[in-house]
Symmetry: C2
Subunit: 343 residues, 2 copies
Amino acid sequence: MLDDLNERSKQILEAIIEDYIITAEPVGSRTITRRHPFALSPATVRNVMSDLEEMGFLASPHTSAGRVPTDKAYRFYVDSLLAVRQVSRSERDEIRRRCRINGHDIGSVLRDTSKMLSYISHYMGVVVAPRFAAAVLRQIEFVQLSGRRILVILVAQSGTVQNKIIESDEDISADDLNRMTNYLNGLLQGLTIAQIKSRIVEEMENEKTRYDRLMAKALELSQQTVGDADSEIFLEGRVNIMDVPEFADIGRMKEIFRAFEEKNQLVNLLNRCMDADGINIFIGSESRVSQMSDISLITSTYRTGRNSIGVLGVIGPTRMGYAKVIPIVDYTARLVSRLLESE
Amino acid sequence: MLDDLNERSKQILEAIIEDYIITAEPVGSRTITRRHPFALSPATVRNVMSDLEEMGFLASPHTSAGRVPTDKAYRFYVDSLLAVRQVSRSERDEIRRRCRINGHDIGSVLRDTSKMLSYISHYMGVVVAPRFAAAVLRQIEFVQLSGRRILVILVAQSGTVQNKIIESDEDISADDLNRMTNYLNGLLQGLTIAQIKSRIVEEMENEKTRYDRLMAKALELSQQTVGDADSEIFLEGRVNIMDVPEFADIGRMKEIFRAFEEKNQLVNLLNRCMDADGINIFIGSESRVSQMSDISLITSTYRTGRNSIGVLGVIGPTRMGYAKVIPIVDYTARLVSRLLESE
DNA sequence: ATTAGCACTCCTTGGTGCAGAGTGCTAAAC
DNA sequence: GTTTAGCACTCTGCACCAAGGAGTGCTAAT
């Protein structure tokens, strides 16, 4: 079906998409012939456009408006037409300038990355913190806040820190707490959180530990801490989408903000991106999230070693500068990967 | 000047404000007499309203609209007219249900608190994390990520955790790192971060430490970590203000969102609230932030012991249900104070 | 001091009429 | 057979106007 498109149709489709990306106005046959040196008359273009509409690549808001690319058109554009630009030297510098790890915690680095993405793309930046369940434990620490209230700090290999306050049902002496810490570090270091969960259960049933009150206690406490935390999401540059003319009406805007405020849906969507390595693009309805019509998502995974550990990207209108944004997301993901490498 | 207001005028002003809070429409003389059993004719009310306008309590958008309370009117209302309600039993339950500390880190607790404030008030909730500079250090930990990259974890008395990644200019052995940790904990525990800063400088000039490479190194590293972090702000429920009719136009909305996205201004404003203990109310222009016209801020400080350590509150239109929101903010601040007490 | 009455002002809503942009079709040109 | 010029038609956006409604301010009567 896509093969039906001859070279000329492709060129015209591309011209329409690129024009629409710039102007955000339905584009008519005249406009195309004026802005592109095709040596074709408007009438011819009209015929081609009519065909393209038939095939589902274009839609007309109403009879006498120009035409607008459909999600299908963008998909085709991204897959076949688009010549991905390289990140320019100045963009690279800008990106690196805004992502510095030294003297910060991982959280701020990721937030800054998200801000950078939004700033540079003029849309929204999104970064999902490394999912902790897959993280490898480097160290566990207990800090006593009061007799029974204990602060547990988990440090992952990547430098991500997670902490929780838990309540013990009895007082624990500082000495005991120390012994527990050592015991648990020996037992759990180097395992992923997922592995740790089952390891704890295993160990709890172990004869030796069952009768050692202290160890039993330690296991019980650590079990409280490794509950599944939902990974943090840094969504920055919300205001940018207020400048997008497609979303200028207050109702639509409200809908979008509501969808992103309650982050569940976004989490699900981004988790889907985790599965596929590298660049991932959802165009409009492809995301299967109803509020995401006219919204596209460009993501890439970042990794330590061979494992993808998180996702970052840009959220904008389907009418987005793909040629510019895709390489930026790609480059940023590589950069973050490198930053998080512990070496 | 305020004494000029006789009982009747006050009643009418109160009626206008409360009507306007509910309807968001300029209120006319007819409406007042209909909704309130004053036994006064519209004409009389008109005369009073005219006086009130003269005195700066009311303004008319245009000749033939009703009248709208000014910031001055709200201020008078809040100070003199308002009978603050108690938090209802069910509100109390709701608030407590949504603020649980067990099994979470302080950050999530504060975020949840902010969400709760926005949910219950229908406006935006804001919570400023305890400012770290005033916090008392409970413990410092170093975790080696790689030879030179070190994760520093600071735990405050309140259970707040701050961590940073720093880069050392030479490799440090695990043993040395341990010794450094012990040394620093002995030196710095129980001091506030502010005190720690000067203590480090002091110690660096000390004869003993100057010639002990390890200690000198430790001081140098710790100095990197106690740089002034800007306190985190949890601003939740942004969408709620999209439902406020005053802000329904896209330009105004953009302005507001932009003002809150760049959090500096908000930080300054909230810091001002830190200075005064307890409830603090900024009405519209009182905040001296230009984008905050028609926006009010109700805050209260929360504390451990005698010290205010943070601020929380609600941001909404000046046309806000003060009678309901003020006690909610007050109650929440007390609750958070109690939660953070380490005992 | 209060109120009824009335003229006046201003916003809102709905209708009308054009100008502009774009299409689809047909017939002519290449 | 493809391309193009020409033309009728459609739809939006905008300006303009008129009528209706809400509310005020003033004056004169109670």
